[in-house]
Every structure is written in C-alpha cells, then in structure tokens.
C-alpha cells in the first residue's frame, strides 16, 4: 500500500515538475509547481514527517505560490510566451543536466549497487534541561523540543539569516528619497 502510494505521488511530483520546467505558459508553470509542492508534501507524509509536510503546503503551496501567481497576473507575463527551447545554450544545458542525472542514477543503482542507507541515529538525551528528555516521535512537540534544545544554535542562526534577508528586502525595495523629503 505504502509503496503504491509512493509511486503515485512520486510520479505526480516528477511529472508536474517536468511540465513546470518545459511549459511555455507561465500560469501553467505556476500551477504545476503548486502540484509538485503538494506531491512533495505527500511524500513527506509517507516518511512520517507530518510537520514538514504541513509546513510545505502552508508556506510554499499556500503562501509563496499565491505571491507568484499574484505577480504573474499583475505583470501579465503570459504575453511573452516563448518557445520550448529558446537557443543553443538552453539545449546544451538541458542535455548536460540530463546526462548528469543518468550518470547519477547508473552509479547509484546499476550493477548491484545501491545508495548507502544511513543508520537511524539513537534518540539523544536532553542535553541541557533537567528530566529524562522526551523520546523522539513524529509529533510536533518532539520536533519543537529538539529544535529548542539540541539544535538551538542552527535555529537561531537561521532566524538571524532570515532577519538579514528581510532587512535587505526592505532596503532594496524602498524608494530612494531625497534627504530633505519628509520621512515615511
């Protein structure tokens, strides 16, 4: 059952991702990207990473892609629908990328080889707090617990990075005003 679901969702994800890349219509591309995101979320569910799956739908399919569609519609980018393969560079890039993919798949699966399977890490004890620590489960609580104890530093660094990006966006998108102009 799980295998079958995996193949279905993997197929949906890959096919919609492919259409997104090759479709000349921009809105088609955006819609296929949404389907691809939702398919990825379904794959996360099959991995029992429910929190990640929900965030994938909430943030990417729900919020980011609405912005994409908003911009596409506002600028009416549909007008300059281009041909599938624009020039030789695109063609060369596609062929090189596909060749790399073939090499990767061959190296990973052909001739009795297979991808190395990482061993599951043992559940870490709570390093800082008191108490026995909580066991690793798929629940959001366990996720948040390890995020705020063991992975506190990467978490805060990511937050700082996002803050820097946000400030950058505000600075870049702000209209340049004369120093004498009124402050807004």
């Amino acid at each position: 059952m799980t295998d079958l679901l995996f193949y279905i969702f993997a197929g949906i994800t890959l096919i919609s991702a492919l259409i997104m890349v090759i479709s000349p219509n921009v809105v088609n591309g955006a819609m296929c990207m949404i389907i691809s995101f939702v398919g990825t979320a379904a794959l996360f569910v099959l991995l029992e990473a429910y929190f990640l799956a929900v965030l994938q739908v909430l943030v990417y399919a729900g919020a980011v892609m609405v912005l994409f569609l908003f911009i596409i519609m506002l600028l009416d980018a549909d007008k300059d629908a281009s041909r599938l393969l624009k020039d030789k560079m695109t063609l060369a890039g596609s062929i090189a990328g596909f060749a790399l993919l073939v090499v990767l798949v061959c190296a990973a699966f052909v001739g009795g080889q297979h991808l190395p399977e990482p061993a599951l890490l043992p559940v870490m004890e709570n390093p800082t707090g008191e108490g026995p620590g909580i066991p690793f489960t798929t629940s959001a609580k366990s996720f948040g617990y390890s995020l705020f104890t063991k992975y506190m530093l990467p978490f805060q660094l990511t937050g700082f990075l996002l803050l820097a990006a946000m400030i950058g966006v505000i600075v870049v998108s702000k209209k340049h005003e004369e120093p004498t102009g009124e402050k807004k």
Partner: protein
C-alpha cells in the same frame, strides 16, 4: 464474510467520510436557506416561503409549516443550478475555467477531516474525540489546506479573461496573504496556553477543547478571539470584506463569467468555508462541546452523552453561522484600501503585541509558580 472482515478496516473510513460529506453538504444547503431567511427577517421581508414538494408538502399542518419555513427551497435551488443552461463564454481560458470551481470547493471539504465535532468515552473510560482523523497537527492542517482555497478564486478570476473577474482575483490573492498572517499570529497565544508543558496534546483541536474545561479561551483571550474572527471574515470572503465579489464595483467579482452549476459550486464553497470557520472558532475560543464556562461536561458516558455533546457543539456552530449572516446584513462593505490598511496597519501590529504580551505573562506566571 471473510472478504468483509478483511476489507472492513479500509471500507469503514470511506463510509464515515461519505456520511460526513453528506451531512456537511446538507448543512451548506441549509446555510444558504438560513442566509436568505435571516436577511429577509433583518430587512422586514418574509424570505422564501412558496416552494412545496409534491408529497411532503401536502401533509396537513406540517406541510404548510415546512413550506412557510422554506425547508424545500434548497432542493429547488440545487435543481435550478443543475438544469440551467451551461453557458461558457467564448473568451475564457477553457481548462482553468473548468478547474477553478473544483479547486474552490475541494479544500473546504478536505479541512473537515481534522475538525472534531463531539466526544465519546471509549471502553477504557478515556475521552476520545469524534473526528475522522485525530491528528496531532490539526490546526496547522486546517490552516494549510484552507490556504489552498484561494487558488479557486484566483484561477476563476484569471481564467475568465475579462476585467472585473480579474480585479476580483487580484484582490483575493492580496487579501488572503495579508489576513493569513494576523490569523496565524492570533492563534499562537491560544496554543501557548492550551498546549502548556506537560500537556499531552500538541496542536490538535481536541487538545484545545480539553484545555477549556474551566474558562473558555474566548473569555480570557478576547483579543486573540477578536483578531481571529476579523481575519476569519476576510479569509472566508464574507462581508464586510468580500473584496473578491463586491458586486457594487465589480459586478459579480471573480464569478462574473460563471453560470449554472459552476456558479453553484462557488456558492457552496463559500458556505463550506463559513461552516468550517465557525466550527474552528467554536473549538478554539468558545469551548467546543463543553457545556458552559466552569461547567465542562455534564453529558455523561455512553451514546446519549456523545450525541448530546455533538448537539451542543452544533448549536454553537449554528450560532456562529448566524453571526456571519447577521454581520453581512448589518455592516456596510469596506473600501479596498481600508481593508488592506486594517490588515497590515492595525490587525498585524496588534496581533504581534498580543503575542509578546502573552509570552511575558506566561514567563512571569511560570517564574512565580515554580
């Protein structure tokens, strides 16, 4: 018999899901009737009172009563949508034009999977929710799936390929993004209180209801409740925030070019969103199926208790649906720029302030009671 036993675990969820969809669609149809009746009452009219089914409508006293209440009207409305001529304007983008009503309705029907609507006491004496899927992340799933609902409106506006629907679609996408932020931020204090350290529930809606056994969250988190309610009105595209539809300046908004059953699907989707929104609001802020504040659960065990809890929950949801309708026929529509400045300049800062305030209160409370 052997086959039945093996297939039952797969069959039963399907049966439950079909049953729930049937009840839910019935609720949608009767919310439309409620809208028409309540609007008639508010405006001093009678509302629909003529539709009469052949057999049922001729039961002596009951028939007249049901006709007068308009109980047969949803059937007539549905048949009207079905048998009208399906007009597809020549200038639309066909595939997305057909896809949009489906995309509008499907998320509204999907969210109800994680919305609990009652409780029962199982064989071990443990209280369990009546819900299709009792998942740990209930609230997040509701937010995630319902955020996909906007694509129905956006696609309808874009695929119609004419000016008014397009403006409606653009407005809908901007409005959704703005109010989703305040909605999420208003929810955070709720879960900070409800899922305190030591409680066994994460972001499940059942856990929130269980945490409201004494005081309902709406009573001591009124600010969160208010922000959530305002954002809910905006997210469900109801007046005073129905910018995507706004018939005074956009004809019919995003569904101007739609007719017959495709329009009917948009119509049902709007009421489906209202019902789910009302249910989530009741679960989060109005105690779910808990009887009254500080009088949590007089329902008792067994089947009767379970049914009573469902009934009480539905009563609250019906009141919230009435509230939605009431607001629509009471408040005038905001101007578009007023909606956006309300979302970004008032609701969002207040929601952030509310979150910080609650964080401090929890920190002080924890320090004092340690």
């Amino acid at each position: 018999m052997e086959l039945l036993n093996t297939s039952l675990p797969y069959l039963l969820p399907i049966v439950y899901a079909v049953a729930m969809i049937s009840v839910f669609m019935g609720l949608c149809a009767y919310s439309v009737l409620a809208e028409r009746k309540v609007s008639g009452w508010i405006q001093g009219r009678v509302g629909p009172n003529r539709t009469r089914l052949p057999l049922l409508g001729h039961i002596p006293i009951l028939g007249n009563l049901m006709t007068g209440l308009g109980l047969f009207q949803p059937a007539a409305d549905g048949l009207k949508f079905l048998f009208k001529e399906e007009i597809t304007p020549g200038h639309v983008r066909k595939s997305y034009y057909y896809l949009a009503p489906i995309v509008a309705l499907a998320p509204a029907l999907t969210t109800m999977v994680v919305v609990p609507f009652g409780r029962y006491v199982d064989a071990d004496g443990v209280m369990q929710p009546l819900v299709l899927a009792n998942v740990d992340l209930g609230m997040l799933i509701v937010l995630a799936i319902s955020s996909l609902g906007v694509y129905g409106i956006v696609l309808a506006g874009w695929a119609s390929n004419s000016k008014y629907p397009f403006l409606g679609g653009i407005r809908a996408s901007a409005q959704m993004i703005s109010f989703e932020l305040s909605m999420g931020l208003a929810l955070l204090p709720v879960f900070m209180w409800a899922a305190a350290p030591g409680s066994e529930y994460g972001m499940s809606l059942f856990g929130v209801v269980q945490s409201q056994q004494s005081a309902w969250l709406g009573l001591w988190q009124p600010l969160s409740a208010l922000i959530f309610l305002v954002a809910l009105f905006a997210e469900t595209n109801r007046l005073p925030f129905d910018m995507a539809e706004s018939e005074t300046d956009l004809v019919g908004g995003f569904h101007t070019e739609y007719g017959a059953f495709k329009f009917g699907l948009f119509f049902v989707a709007e009421y489906a969103h209202i019902i789910i929104g009302s249910a989530v609001f009741v679960l989060l802020f109005a105690g779910g199926w808990n009887f009254l504040p500080w009088l949590a659960d007089p329902w008792g065990d067994g089947l009767i208790g379970a049914l009573l809890s469902v009934g009480w929950f539905m009563a609250k949801v019906f009141f919230m649906i009435f509230f939605f309708i009431w607001m629509r026929w009471t408040l005038p529509r905001f101007r578009y720029d007023q909606v956006m400045s309300l979302g970004w300049k008032i609701l969002l800062p207040v929601a952030v302030g509310n979150l910080v305030l609650n964080t401090f209160i929890i920190a002080i409370y924890d320090t004092l009671t340690r």
